[in-house]
């Protein structure tokens, strides 16, 4: 069987993006299940030293395309290089971040290779399948599990007959786990000049403003999340205060983001990040499926809500029936009193 591939994105700071490292971790596990190797693809203006960043996650081979024209990302040159690699290596599985880059690139490649692609998977597993009509048996397929229909259903998608089996996954969904600080990665240099043509640079980048990633709430063990029920940007300060006291981060529902209380980077849920902290405090959040999809795996959940029947209360370990403005200052007060 052929290998598992991960397309690794390069950040503005010339590092490998978190989402790609998370996928390397997942890719390693899938490769182990299949008893194959894990290979990564890095395309940009970075040298072979970049291998150090992916090695600890168990990458066996790194395909490196290094050329100053390959950063910032542009669809056509990156697609040409990835397709070139995939046509030669014929991966069993290929994973991409469900980021602005991955969701631009992966469909283009899937179209060229005429293979299936599943967007925004929340879980990836190896499993078998029997085709009902023909009773054909398939061994070791990639189960691509994702919410669909606005989060109302969970679908398991497979690609029985085409390769690679391609999937995109959002940042924060898979866990980043180093396996060995001394793992050996072989670097293979791609002959970029042989692939790139002038036409591939048809889309010209005139200007760009990309901000460094400021907050990464997925890494936080404690999240104080606010919803529309927090009521105002001003009231959100209370959440920052509580998060500060507990050593956590502030998250939000989409309604709070849409209302302008807080920036989008903090949005939890189907169209935000997925978090699984040890403590999630939901303040004035009703608990729509799209929100729960991003936080239901939190170890302990506290809900503060004026509505005793808010859906979020069904998945909460502790339900405080009350006003956010009233409850949070008390939490801060009693945390301080008891932690001394």
């Amino acid at each position: 069987m052929n290998n598992v591939f991960v397309y690794c994105e390069i950040t503005e700071e010339k590092n490998i993006a978190d989402v790609s490292l998370e996928l390397c971790s997942k890719g390693r596990k899938l490769a182990n299940d299949l008893n194959v190797k894990l290979e990564a693809v890095v395309i940009g203006d970075v040298g072979p030293e970049i291998a150090k960043e992916v090695s600890p996650f168990g990458v066996d081979v790194l395909h490196l395309a290094n050329d100053s024209r390959l950063f910032p990302y542009r669809t056509l040159p990156h697609a040409a290089i990835v397709s070139h690699i995939f046509k030669n290596a014929e991966p069993e599985i290929a994973l991409f971040g469900a980021s602005s880059v991955g969701r631009d690139l992966a469909p283009r490649i899937a179209s060229e290779l005429k293979c299936g692609l599943t967007a925004d998977c929340t879980s990836l597993e190896i499993g078998d399948h029997v085709e009902n009509k023909t009773q054909t048996e398939y061994k070791n397929l990639l189960y691509q599990i994702r919410p669909a229909f606005g989060g109302n259903i969970i679908a398991t998608i497979i690609n029985p007959d085409t390769r690679p089996q391609m999937a995109t996954v959002r940042e924060g969904v898979m866990k980043k786990e180093e396996i060995s600080s001394s793992y050996q990665t072989e670097v293979k240099h791609i002959d970029v000049a042989a692939i790139l043509t002038d036409e591939l640079f048809a889309v010209e980048i005139i200007n760009r403003h990309i901000e460094a990633k400021k907050v990464n709430i997925t890494a936080s063990g404690i999240i104080v999340a606010g919803g529309y029920g927090v009521g105002s940007k001003d009231n959100f300060k209370l959440l920052y205060e509580l998060a500060g006291a507990l050593g956590g981060e502030v998250g939000a529902s989409r309604a709070a983001v849409d209302a302008g209380y807080v920036e989008h980077e903090r949005q939890v849920g189907q169209t935000g990040v997925t978090v699984r902290p040890k403590l999630y405090i939901a303040c004035g959040i009703s608990g729509a499926v799209q929100h729960r999809a991003g936080m239901q795996e939190s170890a302990t959940i506290i809900s503060i809500n004026t509505d005793p029947d808010a859906p979020i209360n069904n998945i909460a370990d502790y339900v405080i029936n009350g006003e956010v403005q009233d409850v949070i200052p008390k939490m801060i007060k009693y945390y301080r009193l008891n932690s001394k």
Binding site: S100, R103, L117, F149, I205, N314
Partner: protein, 290 residues
Amino acid sequence: MSFRIVVLAKQVPDTRNVGKDAMKADGTVNRGALPAIYNPEDLHALEFALRVKDRIDDAEIIILTMGPPRAAEIIRESMFRGADRGYLITDRRFAGSDTLATSYAISMAVKYLGDVDLVVAGRQAIDGDTAQVGPQVAEKLNFPQITYAEEMEAVDANSITVKRRLERGIEIVKSSFPCVVTVHASAPPCRFRDAKRLMKYKKARTITELQEESNEYSDVYEKRPYLRIEELSVDDIQADTQYLGLSGSPTKVKKIENVVFKAKESLRMEAKDQDINDLMKGLIDTHIIG
């Protein structure tokens, strides 16, 4: 017409109002059971196209919709808002198409139209949230793509400059024609229906609709040809059926589960000082915080 813009617009089930019988046993969507709406980001795409048309002499906007007969509603709605005409790609043999098969069919329909300068799609459709069809159509047509358009900065008959909305910022890019643009929800919303256009196009129909209504205005196309919404079949667009429908779709649905969140045994309390004191103390004692 010298400058041709194709807008890809999809009729989608309103996933914000999903009932119980929305899924069929084979894992495909029972579209009949849900209210059908104009995919929200495709309305932004239509507005994007209208703004291009506003700035280019002699431009025309053609809507392409692939779906069942009732998806003709999308084309009429587009006409009310400023599109010139539309084609409904409809044939039982398209049923069950995943994004790869859909983009193959759409790309064949674009080729059927002949020279096209600009294809505008929504970023993603709310029934699947995949955002794949735009880039896949671009690949099949061998056009460059500009995804996540937020604003059109400039356009003339030779090139377009677009501001893209990315995760952590923006990018301004320029492409010559032909190209594919996919439009993000942060782009300007679509203009409203125009009262005059509503009057003019409200009787626009596909052949199938005319036959179903079976009323007397069968000569309507001859008198007012602009009321004709063309239907395109597999044969019209000369598509190869092996790339269409379920058989042409590499992705298969193995299993569908409804989302059921198991209710936890939760501890309920009021916002009283004593309760909150106990809670915080408990969390510290169990090392969840502190």
